[in-house]
Amino acid sequence: MAVHEWSLAAAIVESVDRWARDNNVDSVIKVVVEIPTIAMIDLEVLRDAFNMLKQESRLVNAELEVRQVSPRFRCRACGYVFSENDVNKQLKELMGEYGEEYPLHLMPDLAPTLLKCPRCGSHDIEMLESQIRVVEVVTK
């Protein structure tokens, strides 16, 4: 059962609630977040958790919109630019090895140590869109 999504939902609620308090916003009605696809987040669980955890905050009336973003990679050793598709086999192997709580589910930033450049095998991998980010809010 997916449960890490609860911590992500708590992080979203906490950070947007803080933003709302800092900016004197009483009611947030929508929150847009970006989540890296390699984290394999269960969106339904994330939404349920968000709806539970928002109750005591300025997000009580907010809906959650999730945009899944596929990270882009660039190998610093050989310059090869690649996408998630190019490391699909490696990702599948990792999931087989670790099971549901595979490390990139908890911490997508670990990708460079767990993946290798598909061309030269280096771990010196640059990565964009590696973390959950709140990008937009709609307020009353």
Partner: protein, 257 residues
């Protein structure tokens, strides 16, 4: 209705919230190999006598805590409340990247390191822990900035009596003072070895440590080399030797007993 582009820091806020109200102690040094992990483990064992404690191994590239505690083959469970510490005592749980990646090495480009440390601090379920003891990586890098962003902490600095270590440690002390995290304790590890009735100082005298202590207002705690400690790697919770009794004074001072 207004649409606003914002940029919040979800993990940072979660870490702040989860650590708030806890006594956070960070065991650090500019230098590696001075005994930080051993001392952090012993301090955590001592604070656990007074209240629930979580020991966080923030040394993501060179985890030592799981081996000291003998839990290097255990993986963390994850619950709705977060990453669950591995219990080594009723009152003491351990968190380490090793419990997430297993025996895989962790080599990361610089820009990823801080994020992983922040994630570790944010996603941990500290439960009712009153104390959070942090074993910091060697050096002076992102870990200092990441920890400073999410919580106030009591720094405990560890050095050997060697000038090579003390010179680096002085930089760390000056940084901490600038960052308004005045350190109170300088542990001079491996200061001496007791041989019968005589005391041998393998690194020579510890005068420079006392000078630093005086200059920056730190109490000095000299710890001996205890050869028996090596027998407790993997079961450090059973260690009852001299280092433990010497560290007790620091722990009592931190918790106000």
């Amino acid at each position: 209705m207004r649409v606003e582009s914002i940029s919040t820091e979800p993990l940072r806020e979660l870490a702040r919230k989860r650590l708030s109200g806890k006594v956070v102690v960070a065991v650090m040094s500019g230098k590696g190999g001075v005994g930080k992990s051993t001392i952090a483990s012993l301090i955590a064992i001592l604070t656990a006598r007074y209240g629930e404690t979580t020991l966080v191994d923030l040394d993501i590239h060179g985890t030592s805590i799981p081996r000291a505690m003998g839990v290097q083959d255990r993986m963390h469970e994850v619950s709705k409340e977060g990453i669950e510490p591995i219990k080594v005592l009723d009152n003491l749980g351990v968190i380490s990247i090793r419990g997430i990646v297993g025996s895989k090495y962790v080599v990361l480009p610089g820009e990823r390191e801080g994020n992983v440390m922040e994630a570790l601090l944010a996603f941990t379920n500290y439960g009712d822990s009153r104390f959070v003891i942090i074993d910091m990586p060697p050096g002076m890098s992102d870990e200092l900035l990441v920890l400073g962003r999410v919580t106030r902490f009591t720094p405990i600095i560890v050095t050997t009596p060697s000038k090579q270590s003390l010179y680096v440690v002085e930089d760390l002390i000056r940084y901490l003072i600038d960052a308004k995290q005045q350190p109170r304790y300088l542990i001079v590890n491996m200061s001496y070895i007791q041989h019968g009735a005589s005391i041998i100082r393998p690194f020579g005298d510890v005068g420079m440590a006392y000078e630093l202590g005086k200059k920056y207002g730190l109490s000095i705690i000299e710890l001996p080399i205890d050869p028996s400690l090596e027998n407790y790697i993997g079961s450090i919770i059973n260690y009852r030797g001299e280092l433990l009794s010497k560290l007790e004074q620091i722990v009592r001072a931190i918790i106000g007993k």
